[in-house]
Amino acid sequence: MLCMENVTKTYQLRRQPVTGLDRATLDIEKGDFVSLVGPSGSGKSTLLLMLGGMLSPTSGRVLLDGHSLYERSANERARLRQRYIGFVFQTFNLVPYLTAIENVQVPLYLGGVPPAEQRDRATAMLQRVGLGNRLDHKPSELSVGQQQRVALARMLANDPAVILADEPTGNLDPETAAQVIGFLAEFNAEGRTVVMVTHDPRAAQRAKRVVRLVEGRLVGDGGLTIRGETVDRVVA
């Protein structure tokens, strides 16, 4: 499904080169649930955004279903994202002036879905995440847990094959976090591929496999081929 081939990402920070990712190679099968763990600044979010076609590598390739992402234009990648990939962010990133249902309708609008069908599907998504009675509430009128559930509904709206979640429970209390992780597991059980960046060990445990990053390098994965490095297996 998703594949990274020897991907390196370097930045220039105060004229000093900084390595975000160092020769990372990763294969993620369809239907997999991968958890990316590691200390802060280890490159987890960088890797996730690269998988989502949002951050181009300095070298190496990223493939989605065999197609190289970064040999396409930015607009083509946007179209691919719209069709195949759903994002979940730590800070939810809801549009503050739109209601819950309108936020969920945004990806449907971007996908060219007719307005009447938009409303029906958005309503169904919100009902699925338990917010059927909060359709017309703006994010400022919802709790953080509810906002994240709206974000989940929005992510689901276009029925993505791949879900990329960046610290989805980072701002949530334990109960709500468990609820969100439960939803992600549910989506994975439906056959969607989930890649989740998390600090939360309990969240990481819900994944089928865990990939660890340290200082931009992939250092361990159950069932993952790492080239030229000693593998530390992490018990799932």
Binding site: M54, R79, Q105
Partner: protein, 405 residues
């Protein structure tokens, strides 16, 4: 969900910003529309004056400078009435239609009006033929004849239009439209003025000029009552032909060296100059609006893009292409331009219609055609000013926006 909803909901969310930008556009467009509307009607009035009065020549005291043709007699300088006969008895062509005037202020029911003494044509008409048999050899001239078969009532009512009246008795007056309306005067009424009782023989039709506030009486009666003597404030020579009128000026100057002779064109020249100045001013205004207003809009849109960086990044993450991001911002600009254009046209028109008559002395009406012009400018400027901010928005790195907290 569609583009319109995205744009409109965001506008409503940031009302203060919307109002500020829209207000700026409205202010600029109001000024432009008001200036253009007033100057259009002012120019039209000048053209109409030139058209209907273009062949007229005024004989005035030398010390007088004239801004308004219709108020040519409203000053305190005088010339001898005998100038009228000098003109009539001369061999100058085209001076047979004269209108000498003497203007005296009067009060009727605590309102001040102008009692204007006029000399009926019948009192000097025949003298035009005193020049001798040589008159028969003059060129045809305007070739229009007056057989005197206009009914007296019609002749009197046409005073303000034709500028000349055939007959008027010593105790008869004609009353301007405004005077009659305010004082509730009708034909046949009596009106005491300066100690004498006059009979109102006609109420004149409305002209939209200062003539509406006049009361016309026989010149000699007004001279007698005001003890002014055998003088007039001006002599209006009602020409029938611009070519003849143009040739008159020099001849009349020679005949009456102690008077000033002006054509209507010279009188309206001031107005024409003023109109040209206003036209240039409106062009400068347009330039200022485009530059300053445009810069303001560009600034506001850039700030809006900065405010919405995370939102833009999110939309991109959700699959929005760069052209859609641009369209969101340009649509917002167009909508603000539309609001500004419509509001500016409406307020500008109201201002022009209410203030125009006071400022320019002409009636002003709305000009629907200007609405299109206003919209084109306001939307055009808003779009042009928002081009670069919109493009910048579409080129944002979504990852960078997510890194910002």
């Amino acid at each position: 969900m569609n583009l319109r909803t995205l744009v409109w909901r965001e506008l409503l969310e940031r009302k203060a910003q919307m109002l500020t930008v829209a207000f700026g556009i409205i202010l600029g467009m109001t000024t432009l529309i008001a200036i253009r509307t007033i100057s259009f009607y002012s120019e039209k009035a000048v053209a109409r004056e030139l058209d209907s009065l273009g062949a007229n020549v005024l004989v005035l005291p030398k010390a007088v400078s004239l801004q308004d043709y219709y108020a040519a007699d409203m000053h305190h300088e005088v010339i001898p009435e005998e100038y009228v006969m000098r003109l009539t008895m001369s061999d100058l062509q085209g001076v047979d239609n004269l209108s000498p005037k003497l203007c005296v202020p009067v009060t009727v029911a605590d309102r001040r009006y102008s009692l204007t003494g006029i000399l009926p044509k019948s009192e000097f008409q025949a003298k035009a033929a005193w020049a001798g048999a040589g008159i028969f050899s003059r060129p045809i001239g305007c070739g229009v004849i007056d057989m005197g078969d206009t009914p007296p009532e019609e002749d009197k009512k046409m005073l303000t239009r034709k500028r000349v009246i055939k007959d008027l008795a010593a105790d008869e007056i004609l009353v301007g439209a405004d005077v009659a309306a305010r004082q509730k005067i009708h034909e046949g009424d009596s009106l005491p003025l300066l100690g004498k009782t006059f009979t109102v023989i006609a109420v004149l039709p409305e002209t939209g000029t200062v003539d509406d506030s006049r009361i016309f009486a026989h010149l000699h009666t007004v001279q007698e009552l005001s003890k002014a003597g055998e003088v007039v404030n001006c002599i209006e020579i009602v020409g029938c032909c611009k070519e003849i009128a143009a040739g008159l000026v020099e001849s009349v100057n020679t005949l009456l060296p102690d008077a000033k002779v002006v054509t209507v064109k010279q009188v309206v020249d001031t107005q024409i100059t003023l109109n040209r100045m206003i036209e240039r001013l409106s062009q400068i205004f347009l330039a200022i609006i485009v530059l300053v207003g445009g810069a303001g809009i560009a600034n506001a849109m850039s700030a809006n893009v900065s405010e919405r960086r995370r939102e833009i990044g999110t939309l991109m993450a959700l699959g929005a292409e760069s052209w859609l991001i641009q369209r969101i911002f340009l649509s917002k600009a167009a909508l603000l331009g539309l609001i500004g254009g419509v509001g500016g046209y409406a307020i500008g028109t109201i201002l022009a219609v209410t203030l125009g008559p006071k400022l320019a002395g002409v009636p002003v009406l709305p000009m629907p055609g200007l609405a299109v012009w206003a919209l084109v400018i306001s939307v055009g400027v808003a779009l042009a000013a928002s081009c670069i901010p919109a493009w910048r928005a579409s080129q944002l790195d979504p990852v960078a926006t997510f890194r910002e907290t």
